[in-house]
């Protein structure tokens, strides 16, 4: 892979990679550093990248693994284990939530890493299930299960909020 192919196939994914890194690391600066680090690593391995079948999926998989490694190294990082269930948003956060869109974005950001990554890969970046399975090292079935769980949690929140709105109107 030469410089121009590297630009067209990998550097072009920078914003998407940044979103993934930010979603996992929860920090803009750390995410930018991680993307840069990944670029350097891939550049050094550019000669072997020609053998990769799906360069985009491979790059995202590398990005996720790099971010997870960074979290493992930095133990101070507040990261929920994959199985940890979502906790209700605290009052301080609630005051910051101005509308439902922000509320949902916060909800997604507080999902366990795996669910968060999967829902963003699918609903934001538009990846195929097979690609997400490759990126996350899961089976397609496991991806579907996690995707469904993530969406159901959001739906529950939406329905809860909707009920609150209806009750308020009913009281009036």
């Amino acid at each position: 892979m030469d410089s121009s192919q590297f630009n067209n196939q990998i550097l072009i994914l920078s914003d998407k990679l940044f979103r993934l890194a930010k979603s996992i690391l929860r920090n803009d600066m750390a995410a930018e550093d991680a993307v840069q680090e990944l670029h350097l690593k891939l550049w050094e391995k550019r000669k072997t990248l020609d053998e990769v079948e799906n360069i985009s999926a491979f790059t995202f998989k590398s990005m996720r693994n790099l971010c997870l490694d960074l979290i493992r190294i930095n133990k101070d990082e507040v990261e929920l284990p994959p199985e940890t269930e979502y906790d209700e948003i605290n009052p301080y956060q609630q005051t910051e939530i101005k509308d439902m869109v922000t509320c949902i974005r916060n909800l997604i950001d507080n999902l366990p890493e795996l669910q968060r990554t999967i829902i963003k890969m699918r609903d934001v970046e538009g990846f195929e299930l097979s690609e997400i399975a490759f990126i996350t090292n899961l089976t397609e079935n496991a991806v579907t299960v996690n995707l469904s769980r993530a969406r159901q949690k959001i739906r529950e929140k939406i329905l809860t909020e909707q009920k609150k709105v209806e009750q308020t109107i009913w009281k009036k």
């Binding site: 940044f18 670029h39 469904s148």
Partner: protein
């Protein structure tokens, strides 16, 4: 409306295809949303907003530039190193100067072939002259040998006379 209801159910079960999800995204983007579906609009809007998140510093091409500078340094150092190694290797294993085409004249090494040849010819001519001069006494010897041949004939004549005298005495 039923179609959207079905799609939403499928969507929350994680069973929709990308194409079906695109239909839902388009539906919630248009603004003509059924009141029953209104509550789901923020969800799809949240995904749209997320898509607008971009890295604040331009990460594009940084790698190439960074790598190019780094690469330039590495290449410069590498090539310098290789050149130095080659020079050292050539110095160590350089072929010994085995130029046999030289002459030593009065202790001086002469590699000028023409000069050496002329010098050698001159010396050989000198030797030739010496030899010719040296051979002159030998020519005299040859003359003496020729003279001695006559002496040998006298001896033969004497022998014949003696033989004749012997014959005469017997008679």
């Amino acid at each position: 409306m039923e179609k959207i209801d079905d799609l939403l159910e499928k969507y929350f079960r994680g069973e929709t295809t990308l194409a079906e999800e695109q239909v839902l995204k388009q539906y919630f983007k248009t603004g003509q949303i059924q009141p029953a579906h209104e509550m789901y609009r923020p969800l799809f809007e949240a995904f749209e907003q997320e898509l607008s998140v971009k890295a604040s510093s331009p990460v594009h091409n940084n790698v190439s530039k960074k790598r190019n500078i780094k690469l330039l340094w590495i290449q410069t150092i590498s090539f310098t190193g290789i050149a130095a190694a080659l020079l050292l290797a050539l110095w160590i294993i350089r072929p010994q100067e085995t130029n046999d085409n030289y002459a030593v004249i009065s202790g001086d090494r002469i590699e000028d072939t023409d000069f050496a040849q002329k010098y050698a010819e001159k010396k050989l001519n000198k030797v030739n002259d010496i030899l010719i001069n040296s051979m002159k006494p030998m020519q005299n010897i040859d003359k003496a040998r020729q003279s001695l041949k006559q002496i040998n004939k006298i001896s033969e004549t004497r022998d014949k006379i003696q033989e004749i005298q012997n014959k005469i005495q017997i008679k």
